[in-house]
């Protein structure tokens, strides 16, 4: 475990060098959010104060939260990094090192995104609190609950994207699969909460990863309830276990294929 913490730490240290980039990227995030704020202002214009159980402020907070998870994660870069690792054959250097590649990716990526996610969260909470004038979280326990589910959401995302990236062992370019995955997350959880879909779809969408990697933490953030928290945590733990197994399995299969082909 010590070596993974060390990997995490050194990746975190080197990410500090690029702190200025985070601020520039945040401008992009903010303009994006500005757009959604405008969109929802328009949508709520002549509607009663509630759409599908959400107030306008809740809607904006919801999207702010899911977009932090999305931007903070840096999924595209992660996917490309793994694809490059596989294609260049760099991944084979990990074979004779005494650590698991999947765990290595989790810790190094967590280290890389830590400062960015913290800054995004702090900036967004301050900014939107002053714009919307209404902070949805009531007490420290709720905050802790949101934090735990958000953290699990990030780890699960990393594992899923790692699995997608590792598919490039078997096909030349895995990025099209990533595009589709990212659009599913975007449409089925980031832009809207599940409640916006027709009833019969809502049940199905509970099984889509978007439910745990973006809907879960954001829903708890805007409307915390202990029942929801327990439900989300249980589903997240299932996802964590399965995605961990899948990622490792693909890695093992892929490496074996590489060995057979002689790299």
């Amino acid at each position: 475990m010590r070596k993974y913490i060390y990997i995490f730490k050194s990746e975190f240290m080197s990410s500090l060098q690029y702190v200025s980039n985070v601020f520039i990227n945040y401008i992009g995030y903010f303009i994006m959010m500005f757009m959604f704020w405008n969109l929802w202002k328009y949508m709520y214009q002549d509607e009663a104060n509630l759409i599908n159980g959400y107030t306008m402020n809740q809607m904006v907070w919801y999207v702010a939260m899911t977009e932090i998870l999305w931007y903070g994660l840096g999924g595209r870069k992660l996917c490309r990094r793994i694809t490059d690792d596989v294609r260049s054959g760099n991944i084979t250097y990990n074979l004779n090192k005494p650590y698991s590649y999947v765990s290595y990716i989790i810790f190094s990526h967590l280290g890389e995104i830590l400062i960015r996610t913290i800054l995004y969260t702090v900036l967004s909470l301050t900014l939107f609190n002053s714009i919307l004038g209404e902070f949805p979280i009531g007490n420290i326990y709720e905050a802790l609950g949101v934090f735990i589910t958000a953290f699990l959401a990030i780890v699960i995302s990393i594992l899923i994207i790692t699995s997608i990236g590792l598919i490039s062992f078997f096909m030349e370019d895995a990025s099209p699969i990533y595009w589709i995955y990212s659009k599913i997350i975007l449409v089925l959880g980031t832009l809207f909460p599940v409640e916006f879909f027709p009833m019969f779809l809502q049940k199905v969408f509970k099984f889509v990863p978007a439910y745990v990697v973006s809907y879960g933490p954001a829903k708890l953030f805007v409307d915390f309830s202990i029942d929801k928290f327990v439900e989300i945590i249980i589903v997240q733990l299932c996802y964590l276990l399965v995605s961990l197994l899948v990622a490792n399995l693909i890695y093992k299969k892929g490496v074996k294929k590489l060995n057979v082909n002689g790299g």
Partner: protein, 264 residues
């Protein structure tokens, strides 16, 4: 002058052809990236189905107009990224000193650099644009103007990217700024004009010229208006001129790879 332009065009097309050949070395990957890009773009329909289930219009647009908006957004993006992919990593090309190869050629440096690579998945974006415009209902006139708007909008995208990238001649690491603004223009492009307030709209017709890439064209395609068309034409000419001006102004500051070397 005319023969020079003709020769330049011939060379640019040849570059594009060669780059396309390179992309097609692996046929399966090539086709897949196009098909997946179309699927990828198609997910937006879900988003708008939901928005339209909440309200009869989104930002004053009917569903049909949203289709046109998306056709333009994705089509112009496709044109820009297919023919001029390099515009979107021109910043890196400049800071890494990779313009050298184009400078020593007896052709237009900027055009040579821009046309030296293609993005094959952008073919999917272009196709998607045409699919949507057909779905939204098509006449010959609409088809012709749509195609013209795709080219003009593609040029605006590229010119915007070149202006952003030109800052790299003066400011190091401005590639992040360029990336941020390039992806922003793409995002805003897919949302109706009507959701924005007055000041924002001014910005969308000046600093971030989404208005001329898609808002005005949507108007023209909905109900034809020659003046609006001319505005788009004029703006395109203006921003292209500005892009060339900025690039050549910056080129005098070009430091090739020397900054890289002295950093070590």
């Amino acid at each position: 002058m005319l023969t020079a332009a003709k020769r330049q065009f011939k060379i640019s097309m040849l570059s594009t052809k060669y780059a396309l050949m390179r992309a097609m070395v692996n046929k399966a990957t090539f086709v897949m990236s196009i098909v997946f890009m179309i699927l990828n773009n198609a997910t937006f329909i879900i988003q708008y189905l939901i928005l339209f289930s909440l309200k009869e219009d989104v930002g004053g647009y009917t569903f049909n107009q949203v289709l046109m908006l998306w056709a333009l957004a994705s089509g112009t993006f496709g044109v820009a990224h297919f023919f001029f992919k390099k515009a979107f990593n021109l910043s890196e090309t400049i800071t890494n000193g990779k313009l050298d190869a184009y400078i020593v050629q007896p052709k237009n440096i900027l055009l040579q650099a821009l046309t030296s690579d293609i993005d094959s998945s952008a073919i999917g974006d272009m196709l998607y644009g045409f699919i949507l415009i057909f779905v939204s209902g098509i006449t010959i006139k609409k088809f012709i103007f749509f195609t013209i708007f795709l080219i003009l909008g593609g040029f605006i995208h590229v010119a915007f990217a070149v202006i952003l990238a030109s800052f790299s001649f003066w400011i190091s690491r401005s590639d992040i700024i360029a990336d941020t603004f390039n992806s922003m223009i793409t995002h805003i492009n897919t949302y109706p004009e009507g959701i924005f307030g007055g000041i924002t709209r001014v910005v969308l017709y000046t600093l971030i010229p989404v208005g001329f890439i898609s808002y005005v064209p949507v108007q023209v395609l909905t109900s034809f208006n020659i003046m609006s068309f001319i505005y788009v034409l004029l703006f395109t000419a203006f921003i292209i001129g500005l892009a060339f001006f900025m690039f050549y102004k910056g080129l005098k500051k070009y430091s090739s790879s020397n900054l890289m070397i002295s950093k070590i």
